[in-house]
Structures are given as C-alpha cells and as structure tokens.
C-alpha cells in the first residue's frame, strides 16, 4: 500500500449537541484524486476544516504526511494548499494583490504569482479588482492562491460550485492535470456524483457524519447496486410497500418507480410483494449501475 498523505482516525465533532462527525476514518493515498462525497450537511466541510486546523476535533487524530497535525501545524500546512467553500477574496484588491497577501504569508518568491496565474489562466484579468470577478474567476483565483506554495496536497472543497458547464470542464481538466502532470495528491469534496466519477481514483462517501464507504472508485462499482425500474398500476401504494421493505425510491412518475437494488433477488422480492398487494406489474427493467444508485443506496437521502 502506498504512503498515506491524509489519515484520520475516529474523528468526532459536535456543534453544541449535534454530532456532526462520528468516528470519521479517512485514508488518502499519495498521488490519488480522492473524492469526498456526501449530501449537503453530511459533514464534508467540517471534516475539511479539521484537516486544516480551523476546527479542532473533540476526539480522534489527524495525520498529514504521516505526522500529527496538532503538533506540527505550521510545518505540515506549508505542504498543503486549500480552497474552502465560498472563495476567500479581498474584494477591494486585484487578483494579483490578493495573491500577494498570501505570498507574503508563506514567503515564496514573487515570480510564483505569475506562474500560478498562468496555471489557472487568469493572467488577462489579474489586475482587475476582485469585486468585478465572476464566480468562476473567483474560484480560479482561490485555486491559484492554494497553488502558490507549490503544495504536495491540495484540499478543494466543492471547487466546481457555482461554475457554468464550461467552467466545470475547465476546472476538472485543471485538477486532473495538477494530479497527473504535477504529481499532486488531491482531496476533493463534492455533492455532485458525476463530477467525482469523472476524476476520482479513490472515494469516500459520508452521510450524517458517518463514513459509509471508503476505497477505490472501481471497488464501489463492482460490489454494489443496479437500478430497477418498475412500470405498474398504483404508484402511490407501491411506494409505500417498497418503503416498508426498506428500499429507497429514487425516482417516480405517474406510471413507474425507479429504485436502487443490490442483487437480483431484490427484484423478485419486490415483485412478489407488489403482486401480493394486488398491484399490476407491467414491466420490470434493471438498468446500468451508476454511481448515483450507489450513492442513494448508501445515503438514503432522497424521498425520506
């Protein structure tokens, strides 16, 4: 097994009485693009804030590059670049001046500013005031400031948030290139499944503060689910029956229901239950497995 860049053990975190993180264990291998997936409010940003020493976990330990974060904050964070949620930008300064503020804090040569501006393709707008930046430009400026110190690890919290489709593609290409061409380990959070699917080598899925899955992206595909689409007569009644069997309905229309299932036996079990309850089943169709199905199955968020 390759070296672990981030390793957390049994992280607990509370907001007053609300348990935001429950024994979170993460193992991020060197050189990976690690997708950290979860619905809104699952604890992604909280975890990231702990990784950056912005929050202090009530229990558990964070190791970065094999060393304890609380003991070596300054040395370890000098190898980390971060982009956290909404961009942190001084609106009254230009893009270049924003980078200068960060440059002064980390003490790298001035020439780095132009280098990172080129990487994020912000050269032409570098001397515009940041208050005139579009959201996409703000995100790229945030990424530029994360890259200033030439970190070995990039922690990006929802980097494609609020970007338009071309911005998303651009950001994705940038992230992949930083990983492949510059050898950076990338820890990436998102609630958008297809995003992660297109980039990540490893994933963790978090829901309500608990890690539901951690491992290779491929591993997730092989041992889990498919979608089952059922065309039937009484959708409302069918949903109740299916829920009572402890399945999650992901989509439904006036004629059909779609839900994630784990194995073939589920199809038979659901069909039998429906027929027993006098519902006419017209068609049973199992579709290609998607990450979405897996995700819903693990988090059971929708429709509950």
């Amino acid at each position: 097994m390759s070296k672990l860049i981030i390793q957390t053990t049994e992280l607990d975190f509370y907001f007053k009485n609300f348990k935001a993180l429950d024994k979170v264990n993460l193992n991020v291998p060197e050189g990976s693009i690690y997708g950290f997936l979860g619905p809104n409010g699952a604890g992604k940003t909280t975890t990231i804030r702990i990784l950056l020493d912005l929050f202090h976990a009530e229990a558990g330990q964070v190791k970065l590059f094999g060393q304890d974060l609380s003991q070596n904050k300054v040395a370890l964070l000098s190898k980390v670049g971060a982009l956290i949620e909404n961009p942190s930008i001084y609106k009254h300064l230009t893009g270049r001046q924003n980078l200068e503020v960060v440059r002064r804090m980390i003490g790298v040569p001035k020439s780095r500013i132009n280098e990172v501006l080129k990487i994020v393709r912000l050269m032409d707008n570098a001397d515009k005031k940041a208050k005139n930046y579009s959201l996409g430009m703000c995100q790229r400026l945030g990424l530029a400031s994360a890259l200033l110190g030439d970190p070995d690890l990039l922690i990006l919290d929802e980097p494609t948030n609020g970007l338009d489709p071309s911005g998303i593609i651009e950001m994705r290409e940038l992230i992949i290139s930083l990983n492949k061409d510059h050898g950076k380990t990338i820890f990436l959070s998102s609630h958008i499944l297809t995003e992660i699917e297109k980039m990540a080598t490893d994933v963790a899925i978090i829901d309500q503060g608990k890690i539901m899955y951690e491992g290779k992206l491929d591993g997730l595909h092989s041992n889990t689910s498919k979608f089952l689409e059922i065309e039937l007569s009484n959708v409302e009644k069918a949903i109740e029956i299916i829920k009572s069997l402890n399945y999650t309905v992901s989509e439904h229309s006036s004629k059909s229901i779609t839900l994630p299932i784990l194995e073939k036996a589920d199809t038979a079990k659901i069909n039998k239950a429906l027929v027993d309850n006098n519902i006419d089943v017209y068609q049973l169709k199992s579709s290609e497995e998607t990450l979405e199905a897996i995700f819903l199955n693990l988090t059971k968020k929708l429709d509950q």
Partner: protein
C-alpha cells in the same frame, strides 16, 4: 519555522491588505479633522478667540484636546471594526488561518496593526495641531504663536492619551473580533462612552470606567501647573484592562472555530 519569521510574514501580509482601503484614508483624514477646523477658526477669528493676555499655544491645545476627547473613542471603534471586518466581509478568516503560520502570529499581527494605527493617528493629530500653531505665525501674526513652544509637551500628551485609550481600544477590538455584526461593537462603544459621561457627574467609581480613562488622563490640562506624567492612575488602569482584554482575545482566537 521560528516565530520571528512567522510574525514578520503575518505582519507584512496584514499591512499590505489595507492598500487602497478606506482605513488608510481614515488614518490620515480623521486626525486632520479637528486641526483643520481649528485652523479655520484661528485664521478667520484669531484675535477674537485669543485675547492678548491668553497663552496662544495652551489655548490651541485646549481647543484640540476637548473635541478630540469626544471624537477619538469613535475613531478607535471604527478602526477596531475595520481591521476585523476586512476579514469577515471577504470571508478570509479561513484563508489566513489555513496558512502555515501559527494562530498566535496571525492574531498578534492584527493586534499590532490595530495598536499602531491608533498610535500613528494620534501622532499625526499632535503634528497637525503643532502645524496649525506654526502656520499662524504667517497667517495671523500677533496671536502669540511666535512664542516658543515645547513640541515634546504635545507629543507626550498624545502618548498619554494613547496609553489611556488602550483599555477601551482592547475592549472594542475584542468585540469586533468576535462578532461579524457591525452594529454591536458600535452600540457597546457608544453605550460605554455615554454611560461614562453620566456616571462621571458624581459616582465615586466613575474613574474605573474604561471608556473614561483617556478623558480623565487629560482632565487637569486647564489647571495651572498641569504635569503630564504626574497623575498616571488612568493610564495604569487602562494598561491593565488592555493586557487582560488582548490576552483574552488572543486565547479565544487560539481555540476558536474558524468559520
């Protein structure tokens, strides 16, 4: 990385971010406000204001210190707000606290910039006041500004006001650091100032009110034989409050959850 480098880096970034902000103009224009008014009064109505038997320099200093005593606390409140709100309004607490610098260095840099801003503006205020007096030698000769004047007295007075202000400044800094809210620190500051003005009318414990230290420190200035460094009770009280509040703010900042 040793703490001296961290402090230097934090400070350098902290100073840089005020480029082209209102804060910089405030530091220059606010201390010029009262001297400019004094200049106009003395220039236009000098002979009516300063009678031949009056000490011109002493009168000018009274004219400066009285309104400044009232206005300066508001200036301190604004600076305390601005240095902290620059982070709140840009969402940058998390940016600076995620850098490879200790929380102590980051906190200390901000505190130092805040204190320096107050100090610089007071020194500017003293300088502008002296310039008003000197300019009268040419603009309104004969008022008495030709007489020698100890600049050291004016600057010592400013330093005393500075020290006596640190107490309330530390309270304002603490509140502004803890709260994103703009109104709360101003509200507490104004309430502090007004409550001092009420209790000072006759409550025996009024001298302990932190918003009154700077006013009390210059209280005897009209009396004959006023010695700047004779009565330092208000200065000591102010310094004690400042040490306690800045330390408390620092300790909280070390443990705080940075949103």
């Amino acid at each position: 990385m040793n703490i001296a480098i961290q402090l230097k880096r934090s400070l350098s970034a902290e100073v840089y971010k005020y480029k082209k902000t209102l804060t910089l103009w405030l530091l220059i224009l606010a201390p010029a406000f009262v001297p400019v008014i004094n200049f106009i009064i003395l220039w236009q109505k000098g002979p009516q204001v300063i009678k031949p038997d009056m000490d011109a320099w002493a009168t000018l200093i009274n004219f400066s210190v009285d309104p400044a005593n009232f206005l300066f606390p508001f200036f301190v409140m604004m600076v305390a707000l601005l240095v902290n709100n620059i982070e709140y309004s840009s969402n940058t607490w998390k940016l600076i606290y995620a850098q490879p610098l200790s929380r102590f260095a980051l906190y200390f840099a901000k505190m130092k910039v805040f204190i320096s801003m107050i100090f610089i503006s007071l020194m500017l205020f003293g300088t502008f006041t002296i310039l008003v007096g000197l300019s009268m030698r040419y603009v309104q000769p004969g008022l008495g500004f030709e007489e020698a004047f100890s600049f050291g007295f004016e600057y010592s007075l400013m330093i005393k006001i500075f020290l006596a202000t640190l107490g309330m400044a530390s309270i304002q800094f603490f509140i502004s650091q803890q709260s994103k809210n703009l109104i709360l620190p101003l509200g507490i500051g104004i309430a502090g100032l007004i409550s001092f003005m009420i209790v000072v009318q006759g409550w025996e414990y009024a001298p302990y009110h932190p918003y009154g230290y700077s006013i009390l420190a210059t209280g005897g200035i009209r009396q004959e034989g006023f010695q700047i460094w004779a009565d330092l009770a208000s200065v000591y009280k102010s310094l004690i409050v400042a040490v306690v509040m800045f330390t408390l703010a620092g300790v909280i900042q070390l443990k705080k959850r940075i949103i």
